[in-house]
């Protein structure tokens, strides 16, 4: 079968640019990990524990009192940044006028970098006790 240009599901698999094809694949592969990670995260923070009980102290002493849990949450952060920001890239490429598209995308990547730094910093440096 020749290259499929239209899809009934999501965005068709890109055929023109290699970078776009990698983005397309990355969004789908991270989605499978996030189906487990993000839904488990939402269930833990809303169904297993009560939102009102999760103070800064509680996060420090209970939620993040082990290195593996922090590594897992950091992994989820990385996956969500890849998925969320590449997804937003696609959305912006569709709607942002070409005149300001480049600048807007750079702004988007700056926000991604900022979240990467803030998230990594708090996971790596927050004292356990």
């Amino acid at each position: 079968m020749s290259a499929q240009k239209y899809s009934l599901s999501g965005r068709p698999r890109p055929t023109g640019s290699r970078a776009d094809l990698y983005v397309w694949r990355a969004v789908r592969i991270t989605s499978i990990a996030l189906f487990v990670l993000a839904l488990a995260h939402f269930s833990i923070t809303h169904f297993v524990y009560e939102v009102g009980d999760q103070s800064a102290e509680w996060v420090r002493q209970t939620r993040w009192n082990s290195i593996p849990l922090r590594v897992l949450d950091w992994g989820m952060l990385m996956t969500v940044l890849v998925h969320g920001f590449l997804g937003m890239r696609t959305v912006m490429q569709d709607y942002v006028p070409s005149r300001i598209r480049r600048g807007s995308l750079i702004g988007l990547y700056v926000i991604a970098l900022l979240l990467f730094v803030l998230g990594t910093q708090v996971i790596a440096t927050l004292p356990m006790r």
Binding site: M1, S2, Q4, K5, Y6, S7, L8, S9, G10, R13, R28, S31, I32, L34, F35, A38, L39, F42, H46, F47, E50, V51, G52, Q54, S55, A56, E57, V59, R60, L77, V80, G84, F85, G87, M88, V91, I111, L115, L118, G119, Q121, V122, T125, L126
Partner: protein, 137 residues
């Protein structure tokens, strides 16, 4: 432009294809985009609020009070709905993108998304919203 027998291979034929003139495929796509943008906006806020645990724990605790207030719980329910829909429909997209032959089942998959959404979503919404009634009584 003859590209095999698939109606998806030819734009001329696609124009006659009803899926993107309304119908399940288009609604699924629009909801997926809207829910994705909503979840993305929350994640920007959420990474920042978690960062506050280290930088300003008192401010984080204050934010936590907003999250667990009645309006906060309504917002969380909407967030959960957006996340859950996006997750379920996302798996529908992955199935059809990696195994295009299964696209013929796209309406059935779309119905399965909504059945799953309500079976797990309604009890979930109840758990998140229940404290509002407890606050009121």
């Amino acid at each position: 432009m003859t590209q095999g027998s698939s109606p998806l291979a030819s734009p001329q034929k696609l124009r006659n294809y009803p899926a993107y003139r309304g119908g399940e495929g288009m609604v699924a796509w629009a909801f997926h985009r809207i829910s994705g943008i909503g979840v993305w906006a929350f994640i920007v806020l959420h990474v920042f609020d978690i960062w506050l645990i280290g930088a300003n724990p008192a401010l984080y605790d204050q934010l936590g009070k907003i999250y667990s207030s009645a309006p906060g719980r309504v917002m969380e329910t909407l967030l959960g709905a957006a996340l859950f829909y996006h997750a379920l429909n996302g798996m529908r997209i992955v199935v059809m993108d990696f195994w295009p032959a299964l696209t013929i089942f796209h309406r059935g998959l779309w119905r399965a998304v909504w059945v799953t959404f309500f079976i797990f979503g309604l009890p979930g919404a109840y758990i998140i919203l229940k404290p509002i009634w407890e606050m009121a009584s």
